[in-house]
C-alpha cells in the first residue's frame, strides 16, 4: 500500500551520537549476546534511516507483543504512526509530552542504540579485570555513562565477554559520597546477598543483589550511605530511564534473571565505573604481569625478614582500622625481632583496578602465613596506589 510517509530526522541524529567504545574498534551492528529489546530498537532505527518505515512499525509491534510495557517502544511507535499523518521534527512528537519524560526516553534510546551499534571489541577488555581468582566464574563491570552492565567470564584468567545489559543508575549520576545523594558509587565491590522477589516490594521487580558499598576505601574516605543494590524493575514498566534510581543499578526483570545465573554470593566482583577504560589484550597482559611482580616482591620481602625492605612497599599515608603508618611500622618491627623464619603463600589472588583518575588497585587473597612462632590463614584485602611512579600499599586489612 502506498501512503505518505514523512521522514523521521531524529533517527539520524540519534545514530550520529553513537561513537564506538574504543577508538580503534569499528562500530559494528550485532545481535549476539544482546537483549532482544536493544536488537529491535537498533534494527528499527536502521529501518527508519533507510526509509523502511513499514518494516520498522512491524518490528515495533512485534516487540510490544513481547514487552507490552516498553515505553520507549511505544514512543517510537507513536512517531512512526504520526509520521503518516504529518511531518515530525523531533523525537517523541507527542504534543503534550512532558519534556522531562521525553528526554528520559531519548536518553534510553541513545543508550540502547549505542549498545547495538558498538559491540565490545573482542580483543579488548575492561582495564579493571586484571586478575580474577579461580573460583570467581564471572565478573560484572558497569559503565554508568553508557547505561550498560557487562558480564565477563573467567576463562583461565582471561576475561571473556559474555553479555551486556541496559541499566539505570542514580538520578544524579555516579560517584556516591553521601547518604541520600542519589548517586551510584564508583569502585570495586562484590555481591553480598540474594534477596528473592518474595521478600521485596514490587518496586524491586524480580529480585535484588546488595553490594558492599561502602567498602574499606569508601569508609576511609568518609563516604557513607547504604543499600546499594543491583535490582529489577517494577511491573508497570519494562525499563526505567538511564538516570532513575536513588543510587542502585537497575536492570529489566528478565535481564536481572539472566544476570542472577552468573552471580556467586560473596564472590562475584561488581566494578562500577563512570566510563569503562578498555585495554588491548597485550596491554592488559603486561599491566597484569607488572602488578603481579609488585605483589610477589612484597611477599618475598616479607619472607626476607628485612623490615625496611618490607615497609618500603607501604605508603606513608597508610592507614587501616588499627592505625596509621607509624603504628603499622612499629608493630612490624616488634614482631620481626622474634622471627627466625617466615613463609608466606598467597592463593585465590584477585587484582582489580579501581575505576577513576587515581591509579589504584584492589588486591584480595588468602594468606597462608607460617613462622617459627605463629601460623595462620587469613583472607586479606589491600589497596595499592601509585606514588612517584611506584606502587604502594595504602590499606591492608581482613576481608
Amino acid at each position: 500500500m502506498r501512503h505518505v510517509q514523512f521522514a523521521l530526522p531524529w533517527a539520524f541524529a540519534l545514530a550520529f551520537l553513537c561513537a564506538p567504545l574504543v577508538a580503534s574498534a569499528s562500530g559494528s551492528a550485532r545481535s549476539s549476546g544482546l537483549p532482544d529489546a536493544d536488537v529491535t530498537i537498533g534494527e528499527v532505527i536502521r529501518d527508519i534511516e533507510q526509509h523502511r518505515t513499514e518494516d520498522a512499525l512491524k518490528r515495533i509491534d512485534a516487540l510490544l507483543l513481547r514487552h507490552p510495557n516498553f515505553r520507549l517502544a511505544h514512543l517510537i511507535r507513536g512517531d512512526l504512526l504520526l509520521a503518516r499523518a504529518r511531518p515530525l521534527s523531533a523525537f517523541g512528537a507527542s504534543p503534550d509530552a512532558p519534556a522531562e519524560k521525553l528526554s528520559d526516553l531519548r536518553e534510553e534510546a541513545i543508550a540502547r542504540l549505542k549498545a547495538y551499534r558498538n559491540k565490545p571489541p573482542s580483543n579488548y577488555v575492561p582495564r579493571y579485570l586484571l586478575q580474577m581468582e579461580p573460583d570467581q566464574k564471572f565478573a560484572v563491570v558497569v559503565d554508568t555513562q553508557r547505561s550498560r552492565l557487562y558480564i565477563y567470564q573467567n576463562d583461565n584468567g582471561r576475561p571473556r565477554f559474555v553479555a551486556d545489559y541496559y541499566i539505570a543508575h542514580g538520578k544524579l549520576g555516579a560517584e556516591k559520597t553521601r547518604e541520600g545523594d542519589k548517586r551510584t558509587p564508583v569502585g570495586v565491590y562484590h555481591v553480598t546477598a540474594n534477596l528473592p522477589r518474595q521478600k521485596l516490594s514490587d518496586f524491586y521487580g524480580s529480585g535484588a543483589f546488595p553490594i558492599n558499598y561502602p567498602n574499606e576505601w569508601d569508609r576511609q574516605q568518609g563516604r557513607n550511605g547504604h543499600g546499594i543494590w543491583l535490582h529489577g524493575t517494577p511491573s508497570d514498566t519494562y525499563s526505567r530511564p538511564p538516570r532513575a534510581s536513588d543510587g542502585c543499578v537497575v536492570l529489566t526483570n528478565q535481564d536481572l534473571d539472566a544476570l542472577s545465573g552468573y552471580l556467586q554470593i560473596g564472590l562475584t566482583p561488581v566494578i562500577i565505573s563512570n566510563t569503562i577504560e578498555w585495554l588491548s589484550l597485550d596491554d592488559w597482559a603486561s599491566e597484569r604481569a607488572a602488578l603481579n611482580r609488585e605483589i610477589e616482591a612484597w611477599r618475598r620481602d616479607w619472607e626476607s625478614r628485612d623490615v625496611d625492605r618490607y615497609l618500603a612497599h607501604y605508603s606513608r599515608a597508610f592507614r587501616n582500622n588499627e592505625g596509621d603508618y607509624a603504628q603499622w611500622a612499629q608493630q612490624k618491627r616488634l614482631v620481626a625481632a622474634g622471627k627466625s623464619w617466615i613463609k608466606v603463600d598467597l592463593s585465590k589472588l584477585s587484582v582489580f583496578r579501581n575505576p577513576g583518575k587515581e591509579d589504584m588497585i584492589v588486591v584480595t587473597f588468602e594468606q597462608d602465613y607460617r613462622s617459627n612462632n605463629l601460623s595462620n590463614t587469613l583472607k586479606k584485602r589491600q589497596y595499592w596506589v601509585k606514588e612517584g611512579g611506584r606502587w604502594k600499599i595504602i590499606y591492608e586489612g581482613f576481608a
Binding site: H74, L75, S94, P95
Partner: protein
C-alpha cells in the same frame, strides 16, 4: 480489473439515474437529509424487502443506523457491504469511522487501508487514515509517557473524534473523485462517508438544500466552507497561470492566489527572506515554537543543501471576508530527502496591502 470497473459504472449509472426518477430511494435520501432517521430506517427496510441486495439502500441504512447510535448494527451492515462489494471504498470508510468511535483504531486503520487499496485516490479515506494514525500515535505516546489517560485524556480523545468528524463535515470534501465527482454535488451520491454526514450541530442551515447544489456546481462557492466544492479534474492548475478569475469569483481571489504562489516560489528558490515575508506579524508558529525559533528552523530547512521544489495544485480561495481569506491547496514538496504531497489550509490576512499567511495547517 474489469470487475471493479463494472461495479463502479453500475453504481455510477444508478447514481446518475436516480435524480430523474422520483423513486423511493430519493425519498429515503430526503428523509436522511432531514434527519428523520426512524422513518428513513423504516423506508430502507421496506425497499430492502423487495431489493435485498441494493447496495445504495443498504449503505443508507448503515448511515441511518449510525445516526441512531446503533453502531453494532451499522457495523454489521457496512461489514456485509464490504463482503459483497469489496471494490467500494465508502463502506470501508464508514466502518472505520464507527470503529474509531469505539476507539478500535487498529480495526479502523485496516478498514481505511482497504478503502485506499480499492481506490488509491479516495481522498476521504486518506484523510481519515491520517487521523487514525494520529489517534494510534496518541495512544502510543500515552503508553510511552505513562500518562494516565483513563479520565481526562479519554474525554479529550472523544472530543477530538467529534472534531474530526465535524471538520470533515464542514469541509465537505468531494467524497469519491474516482467514482462520481459530479454525483455528489448532484446529490444522489451515496451519502458522503459518515465523517461528512454527521450533522454538524453548529451550522445545520448553511448546508445548501439538495436542489440548490447542482446550480452552484460549476462555480466554486466562495463564502461557505460548508459548501462542497466540485472536484472537477481540469481545475487543479496553479491559479496564477490561469488568465483571469471568472465572473463571480471574489475579486480579491486572484491577488490572494498570486500571493500564495509567490510564497511557494520563494520557498522553491530557497529565498528565506522572501519566504518569511509571506507570514503575518501575528503568525502563529506550529508546535508551540516562538516566532524566533520557528524562523530559525525554517531558515535552516530552506538553506539545507540540495534543491527544493514546491508545486501547488488545486489552489482554491474558499473564502474572502474583508481583510481575511482562506485558501485550500494541495502542496507537492520535493527535496533531497523528503518528498510529500499534502493538503493545506492557509488563513491569510491583508497587512499593509499585502496578503500574508496568518495560519498554516496541514489537512482540510
Amino acid at each position: 480489473m474489469s470487475k471493479r470497473a463494472l461495479a463502479a459504472s453500475l453504481l455510477l449509472a444508478s447514481l446518475i439515474c436516480s435524480p430523474v426518477r422520483a423513486d423511493p430511494i430519493q425519498d429515503l435520501q430526503a428523509l436522511v437529509k432531514q434527519g428523520q432517521y426512524s422513518q428513513a430506517l423504516e423506508r430502507a427496510d421496506n425497499i430492502l424487502a423487495s431489493k435485498p441486495r441494493d447496495a445504495q439502500v443498504r449503505f443508507l441504512k448503515g448511515v441511518v443506523l449510525s445516526e441512531l447510535g446503533r453502531s453494532a448494527e451499522a457495523i454489521a451492515v457496512f461489514q456485509k457491504l464490504t463482503d459483497d462489494y469489496p471494490e467500494l471504498p465508502e463502506p470501508y470508510n464508514n466502518l472505520a469511522v464507527l470503529y474509531a468511535q469505539q476507539r478500535q483504531y487498529d480495526k479502523a486503520r485496516n478498514a481505511l487501508e482497504m478503502a485506499i487499496r480499492t481506490h488509491p485516490s479516495y481522498a476521504t479515506a486518506h484523510e481519515n487514515l491520517g487521523d487514525i494514525y494520529a489517534r494510534l500515535a496518541s495512544q502510543a505516546y500515552d503508553k510511552a509517557l505513562a500518562l494516565d489517560s483513563s479520565n481526562v485524556a479519554a474525554q479529550n480523545k472523544l472530543a477530538l473524534i467529534r472534531e474530526m468528524i465535524s471538520v470533515s463535515g464542514k469541509t465537505g470534501r468531494p467524497a469519491t473523485p474516482a467514482t462520481a465527482p459530479q454525483a455528489q454535488v448532484a446529490k444522489p451520491a451515496p451519502p458522503p462517508p459518515i465523517a461528512a454526514i454527521t450533522p454538524a450541530p453548529a451550522k445545520p442551515t448553511p448546508v445548501p438544500p439538495p436542489a440548490a447544489a447542482p446550480a452552484k456546481a460549476t462555480v466554486p462557492a466562495p463564502a461557505a466552507v460548508a459548501t462542497p466544492s466540485p472536484a472537477v479534474k481540469e481545475e487543479p492548475k496553479p491559479v496564477a497561470k490561469r488568465p483571469e478569475p471568472k465572473d463571480d469569483t471574489p475579486p480579491q481571489a486572484a491577488v490572494i492566489s498570486k500571493a500564495v504562489q509567490s510564497w511557494a516560489g520563494a520557498w522553491s528558490r530557497k529565498d528565506v527572506k522572501a519566504y518569511l515575508g509571506h507570514y503575518a506579524r501575528d503568525f502563529e508558529p506550529p508546535k508551540g515554537l516562538n516566532r524566533k525559533a520557528w524562523e530559525e528552523e525554517r531558515a535552516q530547512r530552506l538553506t539545507k543543501p540540495g534543491s527544493i521544489e514546491v508545486d501547488l495544485e488545486n489552489v482554491k480561495v474558499v473564502s474572502v471576508n474583508g481583510d481575511r481569506a482562506t485558501v485550500k491547496l494541495r502542496q507537492h514538496y520535493r527535496s533531497a530527502n523528503l518528498s510529500t504531497s499534502s493538503n493545506k489550509t492557509l488563513n491569510l490576512i491583508n497587512q499593509d496591502g499585502k496578503w500574508v499567511i496568518q495560519q498554516e495547517r496541514v489537512g482540510g
